[in-house]
């Protein structure tokens, strides 16, 4: 049997704005353009007490209460803020969802199956959640019930309470039909028929009800009673394996956070070891007292459960973060969750351990990547291409690919030890246009070239050019009497010009023994005059 907790915050929008900006004065109302007029969409408790209600026109409200603070409602902002507010509640249960049946904000549902004992029972948990929010200045009601529908109904239309499975039917029977999350048309018609409570509705024939109100009425009824299961989509990804710790007094220092992380990593490591698993991604959630959640994530190249390693990764990640870390008024809960879980067999550490260099090296890569960023630690990977800058690419060392790396396409030919990321233009002089280079000017310095080898001609990869693949309209059909155009029809597009893209590479050596790799782009006598570039250095 599942248990759900629904929190209902009727005045959330105004409470939130007042909390955010303490200068806002009560009574506060938010208005919206509804059916061509400015009408109130949210009213705070002070306004309600003095006679304002949702749906009233703004002019009426202002006439009634001249001191009213009225603001336009910003739904996207409120919905985003409520989503963040909902995330914070994952410190009570990891499965939290925003209920958007009625409004984009105001209703929260938590799946608390098997969680309540951590708070000393369901009653204590509900009381804790409600008090916590009331202390922050929110108007809130809540209920715990075996179904989402029942919990929603009770939280909206009855006092806050815990409903046991046995009492659910009795409690629901007494509630008005509107507690079934119906649309206004359905509630209106039901009222005309004299069906005011859920109890009256439940005894009715199902077929006529379905014919008159559509399937949605019965679905809601069945969901509330638990005949049909209702699913919720948790906002945060569900981590099956996590460890968490709550603090009586909030902590703020990063060092304390890291020490706790170490403890949690040990707990988690023991669990993972028992299951024979290791994980590659680790997420640290820091729940701040002022309902915000900070999350840090680190990755590891191979599955691990080593607490020291995990803590070290978070420590390096935190060092990079330093400026952005803001504990606010303190952190009262920390959760460490893992994902990308993979099998990792138990290993024995100690005397007979075989030194495996590769594993140590991967751990070093993890550490450096977590501090310097994943794109800073790189490995070479070969690509099947003869174009020098394409033949090798640098790939984050964290990424372990299972595919077989391509063979080096240019093995056997001389390649420079260092390659410039962008070739630099140089001036080359040769005795005859197609002869070996004799002098070079690079970065405003002149080099006398005494030896040279080449050219090594590298053509462009025409299959990448794609220019001839452009779609063109077919030729108009020939007029009668005219000769038909030659088949096949070739559109008039610039042809791929192999001459302009061809490179001639030379290895040149100057009088001091420095060796460079230079190339000429284009051919002599072509449409574009050739340009020389320096591309790399030999040892």
């Amino acid at each position: 049997m599942r248990r759900f907790l629904v929190l209902f915050l009727p005045n959330w929008a105004t409470d939130y704005l007042k909390r955010r900006d303490y200068q806002l004065r009560a009574p506060l109302a938010l208005y919206e353009r509804i059916r061509g007029g400015l009408r109130l969409a949210a009213v705070d408790s002070e306004g309600q007490r003095r006679g304002l209600h949702v749906g009233q026109t703004l002019a009426d409200a202002k006439a009634l209460l001249p001191e009213l603070t009225a603001m336009e409602m910003d739904r996207p902002l409120l919905e985003a803020a409520f989503a963040e507010f909902a995330d914070w509640h994952s410190n009570a249960s990891p499965l939290v969802s925003v209920m958007t049946d009625v409004s984009g904000f105001g209703d929260l549902v938590l799946d608390i199956t098997g969680v309540a004992h951590l708070f000393g029972g369901e009653r204590a948990m509900l009381r804790m959640l409600l008090t916590r929010l009331r202390d922050l200045g929110y108007t809130v009601a809540g209920a715990i019930a075996p179904t989402i529908g029942a919990a929603w109904a009770v939280s909206h239309y009855a006092r806050s309470q815990v409903v046991e499975a046995a009492d659910m039917q009795t409690v629901l029977d007494a509630l008005p039909v509107a507690a079934l999350r119906l649309d206004p048309f359905q509630t209106g018609t039901l009222a005309q028929m004299g069906l005011k409570t859920i109890g009256q509705l439940r005894g009715r024939e199902r077929k006529p009800l379905s014919a008159r109100f559509g399937a949605s009425l019965l679905l809601r009824l069945d969901q509330a009673l638990g005949h049909v299961e209702e699913r919720m989509t948790p906002r945060l990804p569900v981590a099956e394996r996590y460890a968490e710790r709550r603090f009586a007094d909030p902590i703020a220092l990063m060092d304390d956070v890291l020490m706790t992380t170490h403890d949690l990593a040990i707990q988690l490591g023991i669990r993972l070891e028992a299951e024979g698993l290791g994980a590659q991604s680790f997420h640290l959630f820091l729940y701040r007292v002022d309902h915000k959640v900070m999350s840090l994530s680190v990755n590891s190249a191979r599955p691990t459960r080593d607490p020291e390693h995990i803590t070290q990764l978070f420590a390096h990640r935190a060092e990079r973060l330093s400026g952005e870390y803001d504990a606010g008024f303190g952190i009262d809960m920390i959760r460490l969750a893992v994902s990308s879980v993979g099998e990792l067999d138990a290993v024995q550490f100690g005397a007979f351990q075989v030194e495996s260099g590769a594993e140590d090296l991967d751990q070093l890569n993890d550490r450096m990547s977590s501090r310097l960023g994943a794109l800073a630690v790189l490995r070479t990977e070969f690509v099947a291409s003869h174009i020098p800058e394409r033949a090798a690419r640098l790939k984050p060392a964290l990424v372990v690919s299972n595919e077989r790396p391509a063979e080096n396409a240019t093995s056997g030919t001389l390649r420079p030890l260092r390659l410039l990321p962008a070739p630099e233009v140089v001036a080359i002089a040769a005795e005859v246009p197609d002869g070996l280079p004799a002098a070079m000017t690079w970065r405003r310095e002149r080099y006398r070239l005494v030896k040279a080898a080449g050219p090594e001609r590298l053509g462009a990869e025409w299959w990448r050019s794609g220019r001839r693949l452009e779609l063109v309209a077919p030729p108009p059909p020939p007029k009668p009497g005219e000769p038909e155009e030659d088949r096949p029809y070739l559109p008039q597009i610039d042809r791929f010009d192999p001459e302009a893209e061809t490179r001639d590479y030379y290895v040149v050596e100057d009088d001091a023994g420095r060796r460079f790799w230079v190339f000429r782009l284009g051919l002599y006598g072509g449409p574009v005059p050739p340009v020389w570039y320096l591309h790399g250095f030999f040892p």
Binding site: R415, P416, R514
Partner: protein, 267 residues
Amino acid sequence: MGSTDRQQRLAALRDTIADIERRPALQEARSRVELTPGDFPALGGGLLQEIFTDERRNAGAALGFALAQARGLIGAARPGVIFLQLAGESQKLGLPYGPGLLSFGFDPAALILVRVEDVKELLWAAEQALGCRAVAAVVADIGAPSKVLDFTASRRLSLRAAEAGTSVFLIRYGTGREASAAHLRWRLQPAPSARKPYDDKAPGPVRWQAELERGVLIKQSAEWLLGWSKDGLAAISPERGGTQRFADAAVPRAVPAQLGDGLPQTA
């Protein structure tokens, strides 16, 4: 009477401290060098070596010299070499190039390239790498002199290197020299390449001019003309001109020997 006693004891203590501070690293370093007169010494791991070259355009030669030494340190237990470079200097100095490493005779899979933002991060990464038992050598490319890399920093690196048995090569550019605690300091210049058989106009096997500026380890000679082949670094005596010895180019990884029938020995 008491005062001389005390002074003697103080002097003895000072000596002890000096011993602890200086000697172990140096002695170990000495034991890592095998001396053969005239030839290039075989250098073991655990040394902090500074490789100075006069200008940035010699970057290729300096990296070649460092990788040539690093290749000799790679083994099954120490499969990795870390190359550190400032992200802003890639275009000035060039990035190590996979196919180029292969044709030089260095396995590109062994090289991990780390691009850091500043020298402080570079030192951090170097220390992390020294803390890892699987790293054979750390090669750091430092394009411009930096205040962060002072005597204290290099002393730290040299002690860590000696302790871990991992060699550190700092490739530095320019003619200025700062105080440092490096075990060895080289001045490396490219030299005109040897003759290529059947083609006089083409660049031949690589030659470097290496001069040991610092390091009391080698007394006999301090200057070598070096060549690089599958046998490793070798000194070339000027009278032979380097033309007589033609060893094959270096191969990047161990290749199983071939039997007479052309089948590989293993497998």
